[in-house]
Amino acid sequence: MSTAVEASLARFLDSPGVTGVALVDAVTGLTYGVAGDTAEAGDGSESSEFAALVAERLGRAGAEGELESVVTTSLRRHQVLVTVGRPAGDPLLLTAGLDRARVNLALAARSMGDLAGEVLA
């Protein structure tokens, strides 16, 4: 759908172990673009609802500030959600699927955080 968005997302696939990545509206769940394996990137509406739920529960528990990222780990993969702030407009989410056998989670999370600021450039 979005050539500029998808070109921007494609850079994430250069990181080892990243199998799919998507840019999702954190409020509406609309997926603006996908690079790599769509299924690995995760469903946009489910990801946004999950991130909102986590943020809400953390807020009730006394956490302050906006949600930064969520990492869910299963036997073979990690699912990473990273909040992308914008100068104006609703926040976005970068959702990525990572292959546990090939990825260094700490490095991948840091790389995603760094690139998240450039995804809308």
Partner: protein, 271 residues
Amino acid sequence: MRASAARNLPALLLGLREEGFSGTVRVAGTPGGTIHLRDGLVGAIETPGAPTATSTLLTSGRIGDEDWLAACAAQRGADLLGERLVADGLVGAAELEVVCAAAVFDAAFALSLGAPGSWELGDPEPALLARPGVEPRQLTAETTRRISLLSRLWGPPGELVRVRPVPGMGVVEGPLSGRHEDILNQVNGRRTARDIAFALGRGLYAVTLDLIRMQTLGFLRWETPTVPGGRPSTAPRVTPGRTPAAGPPPVPSRTEPLPRRTPRGGEKGGK
């Protein structure tokens, strides 16, 4: 394609996609609107029911008025205005895609809330377009998903966008995010979700979702409309940051006289 042959608007758009139609579809009704198609893909939808991409960019302050006017003057054809905005460095290409696509889906959602009206096809008209455009099938699927979700969370979406929330008075659970605080500053018992969306330059659907979540958390409550199916809201649009702190709407006093305009002829021309 004969416009009258389609049984509904989604079917019409699918047919026009197969034909690769470029032009406009004017939809009658409330809210009604204009759908801009290029090669059968939906590039933009203008409707009084939801902010356009232009409105979103300007109201949110993402692009300043002067920069916008300069770009419009330099690029006469509105179809290429997006390219001009990117070339001038006013917005990134990816961000513009996000804003335009979001506006298309939001306007389709707003259109779906009204009673279906008639439509007519027309020639292409200039508009700030989503590139490359949205597939009609995807637009219909997403709109259906939104309607279903709101119906599950609250009830009929058509009624939801007409209620006028008021600030909550009970115990509030959890902190208030900046986004929710902006909404709360607009909530005064007179504004609908649509009014708030226009005032903030945000999508109608996004605002509606936030209102439901805020109501659940106790930040606001619903003011049930007194006249079912009443006329659409005509509350004034307010620039963000100019609204006083949230509170219940003032109750007009019947004993106080109406304010009078004081003649200030001596100060004409100002300082």
